[in-house]
Amino acid sequence: MPTDRLSVIFSALADPTRRAILARLTEGDATVTELAEPFEISLPAISRHLKVLEGAGLIVRSRSAQWRSSSLRAEPLREATAWMDRYRQFWDVSLDRLDAHLQRLQQQAVESDVDPTPTERISP
């Protein structure tokens, strides 16, 4: 079992049904029955998914037993986003450098009035 907080969040998000439930909750609070509607799985199965989401802090459930509804909590998702942003940074920063490189190349081409397009093929 994952123990750190982010691992719990990501393992909760790793399931497509749970992601679909979260997507539904972005439109507003919903009961178990409402959440189960789009899926061909039982209410107890949906309840188990909700328990996982609740455990990860991704949703809160109201106490009213009869119309127990779930609502979304955005904070853990922000943590997850921040983590992924770090992961993306490699490409973001590399592509910034590529952008600068391409601008430089084209500037040089303009200055020397030479077509920057390669004419020779690399492959044999």
């Binding site: 990501f10 393992s11 992601r19 979304l72 998702l77 997850a80 590529l98």
Partner: protein, 157 residues
């Protein structure tokens, strides 16, 4: 590539104010690649770059940390699809990574699309990011970038 298997991809798009040929060349010409690849604080020594742009060909280079040259990261990918100025698909095999069973393969797909005004839209797809990749990615729970991102973007704003 269909959506059904795209649940564990990292997808990055960027528009460059440069023609497709130029952007493509930045990835396939060793002199070019060495000039820009890698995050700030890392460089790619020109003599480490070896590229053969054909199906079955290779793209090899090493990213070296500027402050600590011991900290380096070699890349050794094999091209599986090549369409000049349009598409590059490569795979990389990883072996003997602690915690990984046997061999693991990752792909990287680079698409070069024309955009209005002589610009180029680059689409990078990289994956799969599966739980088994944890030791490599330092944390392996990022199993759902593609499906997750619209949701995260909607919520985190």
């Amino acid at each position: 590539m269909t959506d059904s298997i795209a649940t564990d991809e990292l997808v990055i798009e960027r528009v460059f104010d440069a023609p497709r040929e130029l952007v493509y060349r930045a990835f396939t010409d060793p002199d070019q690649l060495a000039q820009w690849f890698g995050p700030v604080g890392f460089s790619v020594p020109r003599d480490s770059v070896d590229i053969s742009v054909t199906v079955g060909g290779y793209q090899r280079f090493v990213m070296v940390n500027d402050d600590n040259p011991e900290w380096s990261s070699p890349v050794d990918a094999t091209f599986t699809e090549v369409i000049e100025n349009e598409l590059l698909v490569g795979t990389e095999e990883f072996e003997g990574v602690p915690g990984l069973q046997g061999q693991t393969s990752m792909y990287m797909r680079l698409e070069f699309h024309d955009e209005a005004g002589g610009k180029t839209r680059l689409v990078i797809r990289q994956g799969p990011y599966t739980p088994e990749m944890e030791p490599m990615a330092r944390a392996g729970w990022e199993s759902s970038f593609t499906k997750l991102e619209p949701l995260l973007t909607a919520l985190a704003g």
